[in-house]
Every structure is written in structure tokens, then in C-alpha cells.
Symmetry: C2
Subunit: 458 residues, 2 copies
């Protein structure tokens, strides 16, 4: 069976069998069917449970063999002992794609777990059925309201494709849900990173790819695939298990071997991937790429509402590859004409005292940004501002959206302080034109990652 078709069944299923679907409902029940109904998933659903005639008003079947019609995807949530036989029955039924949810296989400490893992691998090898997992939430697709996790999450049609080895990546952050599209490989006994990458490569709904890697079977094949895909779409990678103790813990998480983190780092970078080193940098970089154009050069202007914030931004940009270039004469002269005579205008541009000298401060602020953006000199602009009140946040939202519309080819990001910063950063991200960050350091890291990719592929 063609891998694209198989991956399509995993990520874009139109009919799903839920093998081992519980009859319990409500809080704590971990009922996947209940979640799918709540998401308003519109595909066909076939619960399989020998003890139920129907679950939540949906007809239930005693076995996967009894389910009529096409089944694109089977989600197997039975206790671990039953998994090999259920997978066999799925294969016999002609199903191409199965998610194995449960734990206690390669991730367990016992020999029974290893034995069950081997049985699954054998079925995959001999019957051609392909498996995601075990030990996984499976897949999610915010464009069709589908998610196979037994925990309730928030889905959204974001242009993001995630491949991870933990359900924690289904969580997202308040300012941006990653679901988007998501593939949780769990123990990756079969479907692996290269399969997901190749699928996202040609998926027009995916603009940026995020990978959470603990370990994998074929790093060489992965790197070859990633090198090719990175030319088309930015790939952001969080490789974990960087210290020896964490690497040992990983073996009992997904049964992965971490490998040497220095070698991994070098290989990922040489393939043109954007390596990141914290969960926040991972999310921040992905949500920036989802809305921000690439940089044409590494010269960045900083327009700051506060001298101290400009300095924090500069501190954070040290050794980042970003050039906080002096202002070209034309820009310098234009800004000095607007500024009070005592102000020394330079980059970072402290726009507050410039604005304060004008009766129409909003127009002055627009003129300052226009001066910095309408010139080819700068490859990007970082704006810092505060949202200490809702009206301030609302004005900023409108202003940054205006800049994004006026300069669609020029990257503008912002660092927003204040009590309401998260509220308006979230609103901006939802509007899909501008990425804001709650600190100058996070904005600096994001723009540095934008340049790392732009330098290679813009």
C-alpha cells in the first residue's frame, strides 16, 4: 500500500473504528468517542466493544470483523495483552492504518512487554498493516476536527504539522494550539519521523513543521528526508535526552536510545533544521513561522517603548547572528527631525520620547515605523510595547496588524509587556498576521531562528 495513502488514513480519516472503546462517559472516563462527538468530527465512527450495543447513541460492534463498510483507521485502546490479536484482526479486515494507544510494550521494564512489542512488529512485517505507537495519543487534525487522544484538547486549523513522541505536545500553549496537524509516534515501533515528514512535505495545509525527537530507528534515512523537506518548509526540532540521566529515563518512556547530543545537533543543523532547546522556544518559533515572512538580510531595527527593554533585547541578541545595525543616514535624519532636540537617535530607536512630542501620537508612531520599514536596509523589525490596559492592548493589536498588511514581505515581530500581554498576543496570533512575544528574550530567540532559516533558504 502506498505510504501517502496510509498516512492520509492516519491524518485525514473519514471512517474510524475505536477498538476497546469504553462505555463510561463524563469526566475521568477517557472516552475517545465522547471527545470526537464534542469536537464535531464528521467522519464515520465505529465503536468496538463486545459488551455494548451502543455507546453515546452510536451503534457499537462486538469485533472489528463485524464492522461494515470502509474503515480508514483503527484506534486500539485495549489492555496490552489483547493488542496483538486485535491488530491481526484489523489486518485481516483490510485496514491499512492502526494506532496502538496503550503502554507497557518496549517502554515497560518487563519481558512480557518486549514480547508483545515483537508480536506487533511481526504483524506489521508480514501483513502490511502500518502502526503508530504503541504508547501514543495517535493523531490530530484541526482542519477536520479529528483527534484520537483519550484526553480532551483544543483543535484549530493552524498551518502546523507536528511529529512528536509524547502526548504533551497535544497541549499547545494558550496563545496557539499546535493542533494543527499532529502525529504522536509514541514508541515508534513502525511509522517513524521520515514517514510523517514526507507527508507534511506535500501537504498544502502545512506551512511549518515541528519535531519532538527522543530517538528513532533510522537516523540516516530521517536526516536525508529532513534535508530535502527543509528546503520547502521550515522544520523546528526539539531533541531531548541531552543529559545522560535524562537519556536513561527515555528508555523507560519510549524505549528510545538518545544517542550523542553533540552528534545529533551537528546532523540536524547540517540538514538545515532549526534546533531549539526548550518547549517555549519550540512553540514560539513554530507560531512565528506560521505567520511571519522570511528575512532578506540579518539587519534588524529595534523600535522600543522603553530604553531598558531595548537593552534587554540587545543583550538577548548577542551572538545570535543578528546585526543590530546602525541607522542609515536617511533614516537617522528623518527620525531626528521628528524627535526632541536633546534625543540621541540610534538603533534601538527609543520611540517613546519621539511620540510624546507630537499631539497626534498614533500618527507619529506610524511614521516612525514607516521610516524603519519602507527602507531596504533592515531585514526585520522588532517592536517593543506594553499592554498594561485593555485599550492599550487593543490599539497595539490594530497597529501591528496594520503593519503586517502594509508590509507583507517584511518580518515584524513584537515583545509585549504588561498585565494584558498574553490576551493580545493570543488575539494577534489568532488573526494570523503577527507574532508577539511576552518578553524581549523570547522575541530575540524567535527572530534569531527566523534568520537561521532565512539565511539558508530565503
Amino acid at each position: 500500500m502506498d505510504i501517502t495513502h496510509i498516512m492520509n488514513n492516519f491524518l485525514q480519516p473519514q471512517s474510524v473504528a475505536l477498538i476497546g472503546c469504553t462505555r463510561k462517559t463524563g469526566e475521568y472516563s477517557m472516552n475517545i468517542l465522547e471527545h470526537l462527538l464534542a469536537y464535531a468530527y464528521s467522519g464515520k465512527l465505529y465503536p468496538v466493544n463486545p459488551n455494548a450495543g451502543e455507546i453515546l447513541g452510536i451503534k457499537s460492534y462486538p469485533s472489528i470483523g463485524a464492522v461494515p463498510g470502509q474503515v480508514d483507521l483503527a484506534v486500539i485502546s485495549t489492555p496490552r495483552e489483547l493488542v496483538p490479536s486485535q491488530l491481526e484482526q484489523c489486518a485481516a479486515r483490510g485496514i491499512t492504518s492502526a494506532i496502538i494507544v496503550g503502554q507497557g510494550f518496549k517502554d515497560s521494564g518487563d519481558s512480557a512487554g518486549s514480547g508483545l512489542h515483537k508480536q506487533i512488529s511481526e504483524t506489521v512485517r508480514t501483513r502490511g498493516i502500518r502502526v503508530i505507537g504503541p504508547n501514543t495519543f495517535g493523531t490530530a487534525n484541526g482542519f477536520i476536527n479529528f483527534c484520537s487522544a483519550f484526553v480532551r484538547f483544543t483543535l484549530a486549523p493552524n498551518p502546523v504539522g507536528i511529529i512528536c513522541q509524547s502526548g504533551t505536545f497535544f497541549n499547545g500553549f494558550p496563545e496557539f494550539t499546535l493542533l494543527g496537524k499532529c502525529l504522536d509516534l509514541g514508541n515508534n515501533c513502525d511509522i517513524d519521523f521520515e514517514d510523517g515528514l514526507a507527508y507534511y512535505e506535500n501537504d498544502p495545509q502545512v506551512r511549518v513543521i515541528g519535531l519532538h525527537i527522543e530517538g528513532m530507528k533510522n537516523p540516516r534515512i530521517f536526516i536525508d528526508t529532513a534535508r530535502r523537506v527543509a528546503r520547502k518548509k521550515p522544520i523546528v526540532v526539539l531533541k531531548t535526552g541531552r543529559n545522560a540521566q535524562a537519556a536513561r529515563a527515555m528508555q523507560s518512556h519510549t524505549g528510545s536510545l538518545a544517542g550523542d547530543s553533540i552528534i545529533w545537533d551537528a546532523a540536524l543543523k547540517s540538514a538545515g533544521l532549526i534546533t531549539v532547546y526548550s518547549l517555549e522556544e519550540f512553540f514560539d518559533t513554530i507560531r512565528m513561522f506560521s505567520v511571519t515572512p522570511l528575512m532578506k538580510n540579518n539587519r534588524v531595527a529595534i523600535a522600543t517603548f522603553s530604553g531598558a527593554t531595548g537593552i534587554l533585547t540587545m543583550d538577548a541578541l548577542q551572538n545570535s547572528g543578528i546585526d543590530i545595525s546602525p541607522l542609515p543616514t536617511a533614516i537617522q535624519q528623518k527620525l531626528e527631525k521628528m524627535a526632541p532636540p536633546w534625543l540621541h537617535v540610534s538603533n534601538p530607536v527609543d520611540y517613546w520620547p519621539i511620540m510624546m512630542g507630537h499631539s497626534d501620537m498614533a500618527t507619529a508612531m506610524r511614521d516612525i515605523m514607516d521610516t524603519l520599514l519602507s527602507n531596504e536596509h533592515f531585514g526585520a523589525l522588532i517592536v517593543t510595547q506594553g499592554a498594561s490596559t485593555r485599550p492599550a492592548g487593543e490599539r497595539l493589536l490594530q497597529f501591528l496588524n496594520y503593519l503586517a498588511t502594509r508590509y507583507p514581505q517584511k518580518p515584524v515581530i513584537s515583545a509585549i509587556a504588561g498585565t494584558y500581554n498574553m490576551e493580545y498576543i493570543t488575539a494577534m496570533q489568532k488573526d494570523g498576521r503577527h507574532a508577539g512575544f511576552p518578553s524581549p528574550e523570547r522575541a530575540a530567540r524567535a527572530i534569531a531562528n527566523l534568520w537561521r532559516y532565512s539565511r539558508l533558504f530565503a
Copy 2:
């Protein structure tokens, strides 16, 4: 005049003159009086404006000399040329404490600015009046609803004392407002870090002190004072201007010389201060100290809802001084009795599969945490969990508050993922018993800083 009394007038004023108070009101007007009325500040207010009989219903005076009765504090917001004469009039009026708001003094590029700066210093020297600023928002006190900034902020009675050189620190973050008490030194032409430190040292409302330092006049006096105060209260320091370009920018911000960052780092650490390197680490560390007890040893248990999150936490704790110690036999055996037979129980404790095997999952989770906390072995616990829905966040809030009440002497912090994490982290911080963080890396940095202080002074 006694410095304690002077600092009290700055931070706890009962009567305030607003010199140069604008008649404009509403958005963009930057009217300090309007903000103070909105905060419901209950002290006496005396606007001084030669062109107004009253402002916002409050009687206005033509000059500071015309104001009757006691004036604890003068806030001078006139154009820079008028500042020296206004300061003189304040001194003549017997006022001990004045905030100079405006820019264009030592921070300016021109000789007029330097001249004005000298005049102010001369008045301070000869007349005994003490000055905060110029180029400052002044002071804030969330316990009495006072803030001298011309921008509206959110105040709260948090046990935090800030000393900074930028109004951006008045912003706070959504999960925690720093205001608290705050002293913005601006160009620190007179009142400096050591004065603020000495005041907070004996202020029973202040439990943790945060410093944002660009530069200062007397580093030696500051370090001596800080060394003494640090024994009583944790002092968290963000020293900026770490790169050469930023250091140059600082001269035009507050007129400060950055000094060598390596020497600063060594001096701050040797005095027992907690150095931090980003705005987020600054806020995170302060809000943790505001609610978390000190650690008795550096052994930390990690109770994680996700194997991957446990690994991210371990990665982030590398070289932090924290020991992710193996479980003592008694704890190991107790947890193994609760766990499914295939689970290899170790630290980090993957509590999800343990919980899942119990019909009453809430009780199982409590028993797991009790097992880790009721033993003297661990100096602290990090809990990771998700708040992907509001009910999940609500349960977590109640659970972590319960742990804080049950184990008041044992530090517990959390890393919370999910769409609703910020909402519940904010609610927890407001309850004042538990500090949660939106990523394992930020939780790891906070606990490492807790240990840095505990090791010296617990």
C-alpha cells in the same frame, strides 16, 4: 533628615503634590491624578498647575508654595527647563522627597541636559531634599493604591519590593503584578539602590526583593548593603548591558556605565544575590520566592504526567546544582505496590500509568504525592501536569493548594502545560500558596534559583 523617613515619604506617602499636572484627561492624557483617583488612593492630592483652578474635581494650586499643610512627596512632571526651579521651590517648602519624571537630563545627548542634571544635583547637595529620577515613573505601593507613573498599571498587595531603572518593570506579567512595591531610580542622580535596599530590609510587607540594574554611582556601598540584606530576604538581580553594544545604548538610556559584566556577576554572586538572565526568569524567580518555602537539601523529586515532560525537566536541570536523586527504597517499594507490574518506577516518577490503574484516580494521585513529600529525603518536588480544559485546571489548582497547606515547609512547584495553563497559574499565584510555571524549563530555572538561595541561607 533620616533616610528611613525620606524613603517612607517616597513609598508610603500620605500627601502628594503633582507639579505640572495636566488638565487633559482620558486616553493619551498621561494624567497622574486621573490614575490615582482610579486606583482609589486615599492620601491627600495637590495638583499644581498655574492655569487650572481645579482638575478632575480636585482643587489645584498655582505653585507648590501655595499648597497648604503637609506634603510628603512631590512628583515633578514639568518640561525639563522648569525642573531645577520647581525642585528649589519644593526644598524651600520643606519637602524632603521629590520624584522627577521627565527625560532629557543625563540621558540626553546635549549639553543643556548635562547642565540641568548638575543644577538638580546641586540643589540636592545644598538643600537636603532627596530626589528619585530624573527619567522615571517614580514609585508604587500596591498596599496603599499609590503609583506615581503617568501610565495606568495594575497594583496588588504582593510581598515584593522592586528597585529598577525602567518603567517597564511596572508592567508585571499577567500571572503576577510586581506592584507590590516599586522604586524606579531612572537616571539615579541621587537616591540609589542601597537606599531602596535598606528600606526594604526592614519593611515587613516585603518578603522578596527584585533589582533591575543598568549602572550605579557606588557599587561598593551597594554590594556591602546587599550582602547584609540578602541574609534576611532573597534578592533577585537582573543586570543588563551585558554586551558592548547594549552597554553603549545604556548611556543614552539612564546615562549609566555598564561596567564589566563578568566582574558584576562575580560581585553579585559573592554577596549572596540571585543573578538571573532574562525578564522572565526575573519575574518567575520573584513570584516563586513570594510563596515558596526554602529547600532543606538539593534532592528533587519529579512527579510527571508525561515521560517526555520529565525528560525535558531533567534536561533543563543539568548543571543546575539540583540532584534528581534516585528514589529511596521505602518510597520505591510503596510506589511499586501501587503501579502496574510492567512499570519501572524511578525518579522522575511517571504517575500517569500508576493513577490509571486505580478506580479513584484523585486519591491515587494524592497518595503518590504524599509518598514523595512525607519523607525527609527530598528537599523539593516538581509536579508536571496539563490544563487542557478548565475542569482539569480547576482540579489541579485545588490539588496543588491542598499540597501547599498540608506541607507548608516543603517546596512544591509545578510545570503546567495546556491551553488553560496561564489561567490557572495566575489563579494559583493569586491564592498565594503555590507557584506554577508554563514550561518545565521555567520551573527548572526557578527551583535551581530557590536552591542557590537556600544553600546559603536556609
